[in-house]
Point group: C2
Chain length 322, copies 2
């Protein structure tokens, strides 16, 4: 479906009002929604936002969930039981549901008032991946309901992001190989980020490292780093600092400055140095995670090659009962 038409329809059905937008999914799909939740939290004057792992949404649903709520759900397979159940609950409460999936026969689609079958794979243009579609839809919803001052800059950014990502992927190729060489025997990684990018610190930990490489990992919010976590800093512990553009960059810079003095193993992935400043300053922070997803995927791929651990190997997921 078309993002702008969908956002218009949703808002029209509610007589111009949307009171809540809930982002509900599991694992990697939930990660992709973090930036949209961040956008609503920081830019909307009226709309409440919520970011939920699907099973928590089902078991402890927000009291606010109702007819003027919009629930955006995403499942790559389209059949994730928790996400399908969350969509069904949202409908029972009278909310409008938007489902995103890669699977045209997905059960999620049966519970979705609006649906997006997204593109996926190496050749895909990133502005058609679920993260970008959800962000685009969210920003259009906020714009429809209350106006968003930088909607034009955002739309221009959507026209540029594929180029930025394409360039950045080439730019990091040699350093992903060096990273894999250097860190191939490490058992544990910390990933630091803040603001719109924090979702991808979490995502790189739980999906790329834990799920796909069976490596220990933990995300740390750069703003929290100095209030506990930094005490583990030493010469041996690897830290990946995911530095975005935008308002919270200063938090990442502060963490990096500390690490440069006290840590021995630091990898910096910096949106500024990777050309994201091609997009207007008023909105480029919202593109951080789109860039980081693609670039960090190159890092994990290089690591998987060097470790001889294929990214698609699982020992439990889809293999045992759970």
């Amino acid at each position: 479906m078309d993002v702008m038409k969908t956002s218009k329809k949703i808002v029209e059905r509610n007589g111009g009002n949307v009171s809540e937008i809930y982002f509900v999914a599991c694992g990697g799909s939930l990660v992709d929604m973090y930036v949209s939740d961040f956008f609503v939290r920081s830019e909307s004057a009226h709309i409440t936002s919520g970011w939920y792992t699907a099973n928590e949404f089902v078991h402890a649903a927000p009291k606010k969930l109702g007819s003027t709520s919009v629930v955006i759900l995403c499942s790559h397979s389209g059949d994730t039981p928790e996400t399908v159940a969350a969509a069904a609950l949202a409908r029972e409460r009278g909310a409008q549901t938007v489902g995103l999936t890669y699977n045209k026969q997905a059960k999620l689609l049966e519970q979705s008032d609006y649906s997006f079958i997204y593109e996926w794979g190496d050749e895909t243009r990133v502005h058609n991946n679920p993260m970008a579609i959800i962000l685009d839809l969210t920003i259009n919803l906020v714009d429809e309901v209350e106006g968003y001052a930088h909607i034009e800059e955002f739309r221009k950014g959507m026209g540029l992001i594929d180029t930025v990502v394409g360039n950045a992927e080439k730019q990091v190729e040699p350093r992903t190989a060096a990273f894999a060489d250097k860190y191939q025997r490490e058992p544990m990684f910390y990933i630091l980020a803040s603001g719109s990018s924090y979702g991808h610190a979490y995502g790189f930990a739980i999906c790329s490292l834990m799920e796909m490489q069976w490596l220990d990992a933990a995300p740390i919010h750069s703003g929290e780093f100095f209030h506990g976590p930094f005490e583990v800093t030493d010469e041996d512990t690897p830290f990946i600092v995911v530095m975005g553009l935008g308002r919270t960059r200063e938090l990442d810079e502060r963490a990096l400055a500390f690490l440069k003095t006290h840590a021995g193993k630091i990898e910096v992935v910096d949106a500024k140095e990777l050309g994201l400043d091609m997009i207007d300053d008023s909105v480029n922070e919202y593109f951080n995670p789109i860039l980081f997803y693609s670039v960090l995927s190159r890092y994990r791929y290089a690591l998987s090659l060097r470790r001889g651990h294929d990214l698609d190997v699982r020992r439990y997921m889809g293999k045992v009962e759970y």
Copy 2:
């Protein structure tokens, strides 16, 4: 100050309306606010809630922050610069600020319209610790503004929680020693929880293990476990499962069932078995973190003794520039 009087004053100043409650702090103080944010998200029909590490709140403040917002801030020392700055920003925007601290001369108090100097230490009754005060204040605010159906059960629970915690602390004493014996040489722990308890999975990781023991650690939401993280499960990796009472208990039980089949090292801390069901079912989930804080503090103390690593030793915090 008195919680009920304070909540009445806050609501009266706004002509009966509170549109947002923001919970803003750093590290352990932020952990203590998680349950209050969870309460507003799941139980309030009208009030928007936000849970922010202070420096992110300052750099990317919510657009909604304004004269009908309440910002609750907590800093043990009372001088955490990010938290003091967040309070100042909240005031600039016209919000009402509530500051909690242990320090009567705290800078935070200068930026607080209402303040609570809380008790601390071994002899303290837990219902006077910051977590309980903030929860009490939050629930009273919601009750004042829109009514909360279980306010009486909650108040009864506040009268019982000290007894529950006291009993539980005695009950876990032998097993904290066994835990410390068994896990004293482990370099890394995962902590699982969900719902109102998730904050303490995060807190035990960043404060008790990373900050106070210089051990690697990561929290995992029980609902997210099966969507990536569980692929690290093996005979050697220790998992601490923090099982609360309430609506999301099923998520923890599912994670535990999987671990019992596939993991070799599991420690269960179960609110039900520790007697929290003494408090009414309609509200006992909100007391999970108050119980878990005290009980998990016994675990960390036992571990610190066995490891010969004093809980108060820091290498960076308050010792170097950052």
